[in-house]
């Protein structure tokens, strides 16, 4: 059976869904971040697969940008987590509600 972009898309959707579930269910914010990385990777797989399908490298260019943005996001996000942890001694997202109301 030939592997079509549809396969990659479904794989990507599955990976993305796992990421979504991680974001929605876990309470450790670091793991939530990791789940977000999973989602980004799912998107990347999609982009690369379709770039190959249409024989156009623009998709890969976008992956490069996604990776750059992911790096920036990780740096700042983890910085925030560390700063928060220093003040509140927790990484539980349920306890991060000081800005509510």
């Amino acid at each position: 059976m030939e592997i079509t972009p549809a396969h990659y898309t479904v794989l990507s959707a599955a990976l993305f869904t796992i990421g979504v579930i991680g974001v929605l269910v876990r309470r450790n914010i670091i793991i939530i971040f990791m789940a977000i990385e999973l989602m980004l990777n799912a998107v990347n797989i999609n982009l690369v697969a379709h770039a190959q399908q249409v024989e156009n490298l623009v998709g890969q260019v976008f992956v490069v940008f996604v990776i750059a943005v992911a790096a920036a996001e990780a740096a700042v996000g983890l910085g925030i987590i560390l700063a928060f942890y220093r003040n509140k001694e927790t990484v539980n997202i349920d306890e991060m509600n000081v800005m509510r109301w």
Partner: protein, 712 residues
């Protein structure tokens, strides 16, 4: 000549340095050095500029430094005019002479002051030099200014410096009051001056001296009617009267003697007070076109000369004598300008600057020697203790008395001659004044330097000790605060050298203006009059028509007679003084007792101050009180009534606000607050719930897509 703007600016820099930094940081020698150096620089520049001016073909040079006020459209008599004021300086013969006088005498007085003011604490010393430099800055601006406005800057500036310096010892109430008096009296004059400048702009559309003079020279001479030119001149003359201490505004000058003596010499004898004469001379063309005002000027000058001289006869304070003498001599200058002899006035201005500065500095030296004693009755026989001061002052007195060969003789004689042509009555006044001048000056000399020593005793030192010791003592006694007096002594070199230079000046300055009678004989013309002429005369057709009477010359015989007569009068005055104060001192006292009424009037200066006090000052105060009462009862009452009304209204408004408006607002807020309870439940602060909501939105979209695709 393009650097003439530096002449005023240099002392300005000195003042800024001393004023901004010096009072906190500079030591006495540094401050004095800065002040003297800047003045010396100004003097050098003035000499160079003057030399170049002598060599120049066209004896007028204008340097525009910057545009101060850009052209502003203002209403004039012929439509809109552009009011424009550049920072422009004008060097012509008149201002050239003035900058030489101001910077030269200013420099000498700076030198003199550096020693004279040595008793001052450091701060006061530096402050003094700051003021002095500032004064020179403004005075040079005044004389170099090319427009009325620049001149006015200097005019007001010197007034300010005069105020500051008169009140230099501000802790002394009399000094502070004298400064205030000078300032207020000057305001009256300045008011006239400013009005005059306004009228000039309104009439001519410009305030540049040259342009105004050219415009005025095209207008007819107002010999019959009192026209606009006459009004301008009268207003300007009011300014001159204030600044140059003429009747009725002379009262501030005697009081101004409260200031330090170098200040009196520089400001209140040599330079500032002559600004009025300079200003009238500067506007000679205008004044020539207003003969009626000229008459007023001449009469005011003559009467002032005589009146001040009579007061001077009986004063016992050495500086007061000199002050009244100054007023009197200024009267002379106005007399000269009033009869159209602008050159003679300016000439006298110059010679007077020399000998009066000399006399003031000499008196300062004496006062210094007498431990700040100013009363001549407590002096006497000072020639023994301070020969240099005596000789130089004696030269000055001879010069002012008009003894032939010295400067005062030439200038005074020229004024007398010109006055005789214009009006023998005024000449009579002037001659009597000349006699009195000789008398009171030599009364001063004789009371101070001759006779017996009448002053207080001093400890320890034997009388008549060698002068050198005292000079040495004078050098070091300035250093300690508790200044112990060792008896009268000669002043230090820094003070006597300027005296000597000025004495030489007083002796020889007259030779630039040798009168025709002698000049023709020796073959020398009247250099200064010829030199100054371009400043006073414009190409005036109108004037040329009526010019005959102004330029009429005297025959040599008459002139010689007049000269001989005035010399005789002066000699009589000197002789009388010698008789009364050296030969028979008791006779003077008897005379005063016999003529007690007149003596009292003169001693009290004709009760002018009292008269002003009871009329002008009382009147002003009374009306002020009246206005105050009106203010308090009527105006305040109205204001308070308005206030009460406002409060009453605001109370009503407050009630409305509190119960009606606030009620509505609170109601709205209450509704929001109650309503928000329902919605607040959704705001859990759980970010994942929000994400679920987002996901639900995506889900809904996808479902909608599917539904549309497959069902629809």
């Amino acid at each position: 000549m393009d650097l003439i703007w530096l002449i005023p600016v240099l002392p300005g820099i000195g003042a800024a340095l001393n004023g901004l930094l010096g009072i906190r940081y500079f030591s006495k020698p540094v401050a004095a050095a800065i002040a003297c150096a800047t003045m010396g620089g100004a003097l050098l520049l003035s000499i160079f500029a003057f030399a170049q001016l002598l060599g120049a073909e066209h004896r007028e040079h204008v340097v525009t430094l910057a545009h101060w006020i850009p052209p502003i459209p203002l209403q004039t008599v012929d439509g809109l005019g552009a009011f424009e004021a550049p920072w422009a300086f004008r060097l012509d013969p008149l201002s050239g002479m003035m900058i030489l006088i101001v910077s030269g005498i200013g420099f000498l007085i700076h030198l003199y002051s550096s020693s004279y003011m040595d008793h001052e604490p450091r701060g006061g010393y530096v402050r003094f030099f700051c003021y002095l430099n500032l004064f020179c800055f403004f005075m040079l601006t005044l004389v170099l200014g090319s427009t009325f406005l620049v001149m006015f800057v200097g005019w007001e500036g010197v007034g300010l410096c005069s105020y500051l310096l008169i009140g230099f010892w501000y802790h002394k109430k009399s000094a502070a009051d004298a400064g205030k008096k000078a300032f207020v009296v000057n305001r009256v004059g300045d008011f006239g001056f400013v009005l005059g400048v306004f009228l000039i702009f309104f009439t001519f559309g410009t305030i540049d001296f040259r342009e105004v003079a050219e415009a005025a020279s095209q207008m007819p001479v107002e010999s019959a009617a009192f026209g606009v030119l006459s009004t301008i001149c009268l207003l300007l003359f009011v300014g001159a009267v204030g600044k140059s201490a003429q009747i009725p505004l002379y009262v501030w000058l005697p009081d101004a003697m409260e200031g330090p003596t170098p200040v009196s010499a520089l400001i209140h004898a040599a330079t500032m007070v002559t600004a009025g004469v300079y200003m009238v001379g500067r506007n000679a063309v205008l004044f020539s076109h207003a003969p009626m005002v000229m008459t007023i000027v001449a009469v005011v000058g003559g009467v002032t000369a005589l009146m001040a001289a009579t007061i001077g006869l009986v004063q016992t304070d050495i500086k007061k004598v000199l002050a009244y003498s100054t007023v009197s001599q200024l009267g002379y200058m106005f007399l000269a300008t009033g009869v159209g002899a602008f050159g003679a006035g300016a000439f006298h201005l110059m010679t007077h600057a020399f000998f009066k500065a000399l006399l003031f500095l000499g008196s300062g030296s004496v006062i210094h020697a007498m431990n700040d004693e100013q009363d001549m009755q407590k002096m006497g026989n000072m020639k023994l203790y301070m020969p240099t001061t005596f000789i130089t002052m004696f030269v000055g007195a001879l010069a002012i008395a008009g003894v032939p060969g010295l400067s005062g003789f030439f200038s005074k004689d020229e004024i007398l001659a010109k006055t005789f042509v214009a009006s023998p009555w005024l000449w009579g006044l002037a001659v009597v004044t000349a006699g009195m001048t000789a008398f009171y000056m030599f009364r001063l000399i004789f009371m101070t330097f001759f006779g017996e020593y009448r002053g207080p005793k001093w400890g320890g030192d034997a009388e008549g000790q060698a002068d050198g010791d005292h000079a040495a003592a004078a050098d070091d006694h300035g250093h300690d605060g508790a200044h112990v007096w060792h008896g009268p002594h000669e002043s230090p070199k820094l003070m006597t050298v300027p005296l000597m230079i000025l004495a030489v000046g007083a002796a020889v300055a007259g030779y630039v203006g040798i009168p025709p009678i002698i000049g023709d004989f020796v073959g020398v013309g009247n250099a200064i009059e010829h030199f100054l002429e371009p400043s006073f005369v414009a190409e005036s057709a109108a004037l040329a028509e009526e010019g005959e009477h102004a330029v009429a010359h005297l025959s040599h015989v008459v002139e010689f007679g007049l000269m001989a007569f005035s010399v005789l009068i002066a000699g009589l005055g000197i002789a009388l003084a010698y008789h009364l104060y050296v030969r028979r001192p008791k006779r003077a006292v008897e005379l005063a007792e016999n003529w007690a009424g007149a003596h009292r009037v003169l001693t009290n200066k004709y009760y002018v101050d009292e008269a002003y006090n009871s009329t002008v000052i009382k009147g002003t105060m009374g009306s002020a009180r009246g206005l105050w009462a009106v203010d308090r009862n009527v105006v305040d009452g109205a204001v308070n009534g308005a206030g009460w009304l406002t409060r009453a209204l605001s109370w009503v408004s407050h009630v409305l606000d509190k119960y009606v408006v606030d009620g509505l607002v609170n109601l709205a807020a209450w509704i929001c607050a109650e309503g928000s309870y329902i919605f607040r439940r959704g705001q859990t602060g759980l970010i994942q719930n929000y994400a679920v909501a987002t996901l639900f939105g995506v889900f809904a979209c996808a479902t909608a897509f599917l539904v549309v695709r497959f069902m629809g």
